[in-house]
Amino acid sequence: MPFGFPRLCALLIALTLLLAGCDSTGDAPVTVKFWAMGQEGEQVQALLAEFERRHPDIRVRVQQIPWSAAHEKLLTAYAGDALPDVFQLGNTWIAEFVALRAIEPLDARLRGWPPAARNDYFPGALAASRLDGQTWALPWYVDTRLLFYRQDLLAAVGFNEAPTTWEDWLQAMARLKTLDDAERYAIFLPINEWQLPVILALQRGATLLRERNQYGDFEHPHFREALVFYLSLFEQGLAAPVGHTQVANLYQEFANGAFAAYISGPWNIGELQRRLPATLQSAWKTAPLPDFAPPTGASGQAAPVGVSLAGGASLALSRASPHQDAAWKLLEFLAEPEQQARFYQLTGDLPARTSAWRAPALAENPHAQAFWRQLQRAQPTPPIPEWERIAQRIAYYAELAARQQLSVDAALAALNADTERILEKRRWLLAREAAQ
């Protein structure tokens, strides 16, 4: 036997001591653990060489998390006390992580910034990470939804520019439907999404929830009007009653004209440039969302840009992190306009800081310019942890109504009832807080 048991033990102990000795040598660099999702996690590594050059005492270890599992992974990491020092958060998740008390407020650190830097963010972006009077995360990139459309098809029905009101769009879509014999829908609206019904409701002036976000307000006339308009797109056959899973290849369908318009986010700029044939590259365009024309008799005009959703992702500091100062340096670095502009080139994610938009790659890109205009008119969704759940119910009832399995009023009443149940705990917590 080459190793007796006692000798093996002695060897193991010696090894352990050796490793422990390595670990405690004086000025070892601090390692900051950083979780980022999908593409961002892959591409951000390219920026970090510069960061580590400037801060030789800090090393960054990036872990890439797929988007589809990100939310669950962050929650389980929190439950298991294994959150990294810095992590990317979808803006709609911030309220949840504040409720969990998992993230550190940043106001004290932000006070060290010149006001010009703080005002450099898109107003909606910084607002989305503020809750209870504190800033909880630093916006990383912004996101909103607007129209991608086939300019050639629209021109064929007599519109040389994208219409700016829904009324004109309805006309254009009706003509698109009868343009030729091809089997075509005017617009692709995934039937199981909540975004467009909510956008239309915001454009109508609906507030979605009421009384400090304690109850649903979906039976309000504003929300009802918006939903009725949304459903009419399906009833008139302008949109196909299909979901995302039934469209095998969105880009192929868009290229062969199976639909002429699609409401989507900035990631599709890159996708369409890559996937559409060269002959079609000058045929597709982006435009801000249309708005509703004011009712006849009222003064004023429709705004040139209709409201859309303010989305995006932010970077947060874990409350339990032992390296918050080093982690904050990483956040500050990624917030620099130059890094934001570089990150756009790497990922196509739109910078949250307006000065980064002066970079030629953005300033000279007409597709991105439509996003610039849209981002001036973007509203966030209600900042409560339960929002995604409620949004899911909106998608569900909108789909039932679009498939005509439920009347509009029944759908809205059920939606309100569901929302009231989902918000029960929130009401209890607020009441308990008020009693204390």
Binding site: A99, A102, G243, A248, P385
Partner: protein, 296 residues
């Protein structure tokens, strides 16, 4: 107890201890914790601060029984089990008979081919089947078109989504039961068939009076495992439809997953798990009783 017996008992416990310890730590304890959890409203707020946890007794169970979503999921799961279960057993028995028939050449090849879907990753299978089911370019609709049948939106039509899922699940899973049936068939002594043939029994009579009765225990095993497995259907709808369209493929376990890991309503999801456990237990007992009371 004599000294010897006591010593034997002691060593038995020592030998059992590692297994018992592991089972307690990784099975009984979590199950007990889940049972306790099902009487609370454990959610995202409670995860952040246990002071925000409420004991709510049987509220979760009551809310479940009054939730239309639960009944939808139960109905869908029942549909899946009632149609998919017998279909899966029938297909695997048929395949086993064919592979095991004396006339079949290369039985090993067919056995492997039929078993392949069982070991293939479901996600890869789902991608391929999504193409097969595609309303415009799908192979299935192309074949129907040749027969003059108008295309069906397999995964998008609320009425067709569940049959589509069942078809895929049966195709994916029948190989496993087939192997068990083949083992059962090969255990039937051939002299029985020879004797039956001498008595002038035809193929059908042989199947009815020899194969089926002697496959009894195999049948029971296969039916029970299929029932338990199909009651827990999750992955197929999860990757194919995410429970849609309009929740027509939402299964109990999918609902449990959504409540527990998507919305982090652990209390509610635990209650759902115990209801599912009770249902499967009741179904299994019923099946065992039916077998026992059946004439030999």
């Amino acid at each position: 107890m004599s000294g010897l017996e006591r010593r034997t008992a002691f060593s038995a416990w020592v030998f059992l201890a590692p297994a018992l310890l592991l089972i307690s730590a990784f099975f009984f304890l979590p199950v007990l914790a889940a049972l306790l959890l099902s009487f609370t409203d454990f959610d995202i707020y409670a995860l952040g601060d246990l002071g925000r946890l409420r004991f709510i007794g049987f509220d979760n169970y009551q809310r479940l029984l009054h939730s239309p979503l639960f009944w939808t999921a139960l109905g869908n799961t029942g549909y899946f089990v009632a149609v998919g279960g017998p279909l899966s057993v029938a297909v695997s028995l048929g395949a086993a008979l064919l592979v095991n028939a004396r006339l079949t050449r290369y039985p090993g090849l067919f056995r492997t081919a039929f078993f392949l879907p069982v070991v293939t990753t479901l996600v890869a299978v789902a991608v391929v089947w999504r193409y097969l089911y595609h309303p415009r370019y799908g192979l299935l609709n192309y074949a129907l078109g040749l027969l003059g049948i108008p295309p069906i939106d397999w995964l998008g039509d609320p009425d067709w989504a569940m049959p589509a899922i069942i078809l895929m699940a049966v195709w994916k899973n029948f190989g496993f039961n087939m192997i068990i049936f083949i083992a059962g068939l090969q255990n039937i002594p051939t002299p029985l068939y020879e004797a039956a043939r001498l008595d002038g029994a035809g193929v059908w009579a042989q199947f009815r009076h020899i194969t089926l009765p002697l496959l009894g225990p195999t049948f029971l095993f296969v039916a029970l495992m299929t029932l338990i497995g199909y009651c827990q259907v999750f992955a197929e709808p999860y990757v194919m439809t995410q429970g849609g369209p309009v929740n027509r493929t939402l299964s109990i376990v999918l609902l449990m997953y959504e409540e527990g890991f998507r919305w982090w309503n652990m209390g509610y999801a635990s209650a759902l798990a115990f209801i599912l456990f009770a249902l499967i237990l009741a179904g299994s007992l019923l099946q065992l009783r039916m077998r026992r009371s059946a004439p030999p």
